[in-house]
């Protein structure tokens, strides 16, 4: 009984608003655009933050990446052709990390080099990484064919190679290639597997397998190719001795990541006179991404708040004019026996209907815009349930808040004065 009464009151309100279609439509435009922009901005923000989270997930939120970098002052001396710059992480460093810290689940050494390779008639330069079987636990990727590196490859020093998708593409290797031999530098390796590879970047940190074509056991890499690399750079040869290019450390617990990272930092500082390494923590990026999202939400919230405020004031303004225009109607209704509260509810319902319908139209626009953004710019957008419910409840609330004043004015109209009103 009570519900049908509300439905009836709402339908009477809608009927009355439909009498002035253009005016009602113009009145709700503020809320339409307010809600539309909220929905659109929320979905763009959500899309960006989910993309960032996805990148960080690829990097591993429990990982610490320690990379060798060439100290800047070294470059100045490289005019001497017999000069060899020695820098970067060492086997000893990894040993110290493995033995010196609790909370570390495993660490993975990475030795990166470029080698001319040949498979069948194809010959080209590959990006080779010497590492251990633990790599595939820390950087888990789907195995497309064959297998990954195993601990026995290390103990037997087997000349085996696992291709990434990038490498497989370069060599035109397929499933059928598994078991075949190919050459890396002057040595023969057996292709034992192909794994999927990912690329991407979060902040300044690259996904570890972004620039890898082939994995081989690190012991094999060391004994076959040594630690000295010759790079050709603008006509001159640069000789470098780098033991490890990267160490990836996986920590047991997310909460311990920061402590372990700073411990490793202190330890490395003791053994390295030059700043020839850099420690990056994907988790820090996560925190950074969250802070960015918070800032974004505050800015977004203020813009949305202002536009909805303007929308609400617009509705209130028109409703106040409507109360004045309908003074006589109010007087008539009161003379017939309508209570103040019933007049209040009548006008409040009209305002809420206006703002809610405006909110729904705005929602439609707000859903369409992210769709278009994704379609035309490829930027990811995500519409969440809360991204829909929040603006709707906001527009309903706007109607209530900005409807109260005009409705109270309507209820307060003196029927005697109103009936004289022409």
């Amino acid at each position: 009984m009570k519900r049908t009464r509300i439905v009836r009151n709402v339908s009477l309100g809608v009927e009355n608003l439909l009498l002035h279609k253009l005016r009602s439509f113009l009145t709700m435009l503020g809320v339409v655009f307010g809600v539309g922009s909220v929905v659109a901005m929320l979905s763009v923000g959500e899309g960006a933050s989910q993309e960032a989270l996805e990148q960080i997930r690829k990097l591993g939120s429990n990982n610490i990446l320690i990379s060798s970098i060439k100290p800047t002052e070294e470059n100045a001396n490289s005019t001497n052709p017999s000069f060899m710059s020695i820098y970067g992480l060492t086997y000893a460093d990894q040993n110290r990390i493995d033995t010196g810290f609790r909370d570390i689940r495993r660490s993975v050494p990475v030795k990166a080099m470029r080698k001319d390779s040949r498979l069948g008639g194809r010959s080209l330069e590959l990006r080779v990484v010497g590492t251990t079987s633990a790599w595939f636990d820390v950087v888990p990727r789907q195995v497309v064919a064959g297998r990954v590196l195993l601990p026995r490859d290390q103990t037997h020093r087997s000349p085996v190679a696992v291709l990434t998708e990038f490498g497989a593409r370069k060599l035109l290797a397929t499933e059928g290639t598994i078991g075949q031999s190919f050459r890396i530098g002057g040595d023969t390796f057996e292709i034992v597997g192909i794994v999927r590879s990912e690329s991407g970047q979060a902040g300044s940190i690259q996904v570890p397998d972004q620039e890898v074509d082939v994995y081989i056991p690190i012991e094999v890499a060391q004994s076959y190719f040594g630690d000295v690399f010759t790079k050709r750079s603008s006509g001159t040869f640069i000789r470098e001795r780098v033991e490890l290019h990267q160490i990836i450390v996986e920590v047991d617990r997310t909460e311990a990541v920061e402590a372990v990272a700073s411990g490793i930092g202190t330890m490395l500082k003791r053994f390295h006179k030059k700043a020839d390494y850099i420690i990056s923590i994907p988790l820090a990026l996560l925190q950074e991404a969250e802070a960015t999202k918070r800032r974004f939400n505050i800015v977004l919230g203020s813009i949305a708040g202002i536009s909805l405020l303007v929308g609400g004031i617009g509705i209130m303004n028109i409703m106040l004019a409507s109360v004045t225009e309908r003074t006589r109607e109010i007087g008539i209704r009161r003379a017939i026996g309508a209570k103040k509260m019933q007049i209040l509810v009548q006008f409040l319902i009209e305002t809420v209907v206006l703002s809610t319908v405006g909110g729904l139209i705005g929602l439609g626009i707000g859903v369409l815009i992210p769709f278009l953004i994704t379609y035309f710019s490829g930027m990811p957008t995500v519409i969440t349930l809360s991204g829909i419910l929040l603006p709707i409840s906001i527009s309903l609330t706007i109607g209530l808040i900005f409807g109260i004043y005009p409705a109270t004015r309507a209820a307060g109209v003196d029927p005697i004065v109103a009936l004289r009103h022409e």
């Binding site: 007087g331 008539i332 026996g337 209570k339 005697i416």
Partner: protein, 236 residues
């Protein structure tokens, strides 16, 4: 307190009723001490020069306006002390208003205008619609249910207003110059409707300037300067 046989004459009673307005430091007495009682089923014509307080009296009797001082007893209950909501309730259940300028709601159809009191009485749509048709037929407007007031003549509009005033089956009909905006013939038709209601037992309080109209009422009240001029009034 229910009216007994003995105090039937006391059904509606004003006792030293005053209504004053302050206009730029000057007191205007729209009602300057009116004491009168109306019995159930009476048909009164209220006359008097412009500004004598007739409309004010009607608004007070219709529970729309409050007295500045004095008493208004309806069924022995002092209406002037009641809250706004209770007076609204009395208007809704017991009183029907008819105005000189019809006072229909322009954006509503004839049917919706007639249904208005039923809406506030909480009737459902179907029942209201049946009742509205019945009333429209009674005032001879069945053909105009879906028209808007602007499409009607003055006489037709006043008939809609009468149908609306009857929707809640009121005991008292308060009519402030119901024929004031109508020509003589149409006015006579409206008056015939009121006379019919009177025959059905309704109490009718009607303001009019025209003696021709007033003579159809059984009793007459003549007001001058917010007071009743009993010499010119006629209460048989």
């Amino acid at each position: 307190m229910k009216p007994s046989e003995a105090d039937l004459s006391e059904w509606i009673r004003l006792d030293q009723a005053r209504k004053s307005y302050r206009m730029g430091g000057q007191q205007v007495h729209a009602l300057a001490g009116v004491s009168v009682s109306f019995s159930r089923g009476d048909f009164w014509a209220i006359m008097g020069p412009s500004g004598s307080g007739k409309s004010t009296l009607m608004n007070v009797l219709g529970c729309l306006d409050r007295l500045t001082s004095g008493k208004y007893l309806l069924d022995g209950r002092d209406v002037s002390r009641l809250s706004d909501d209770v007076r609204s309730e009395i208007r809704l259940r017991r009183i029907g208003f008819i105005f000189q300028s019809f006072h229909l709601i322009p954006q509503l159809t004839v049917q919706r205008n007639i249904e208005l009191p039923l809406h506030y009485l909480g009737w459902d749509e179907e029942k209201s619609s049946v009742r509205a048709r019945e009333l429209a037929e009674r005032v001879g407007l069945s053909e105009r249910l879906h028209h808007r007031p602007a499409e009607l003549s003055g006489g037709q509009m006043q008939r809609v207003a009468i149908a609306r005033a009857l929707a809640n089956d009121p005991q008292i009909i308060v009519a402030d110059e119901p024929t004031g905006n109508l020509d003589t013939t149409t006015g006579a038709q409206i008056l015939e409707l009121l006379a019919q209601l009177h025959r059905q037992g309704k109490t009718i309080l009607m303001v009019t300037h025209e003696p021709d109209i007033a003579k159809h009422a059984e009793k007459r009240l003549y007001m001058v300067d917010g007071k009743i001029d009993w010499d010119r009034s006629m209460a048989p």
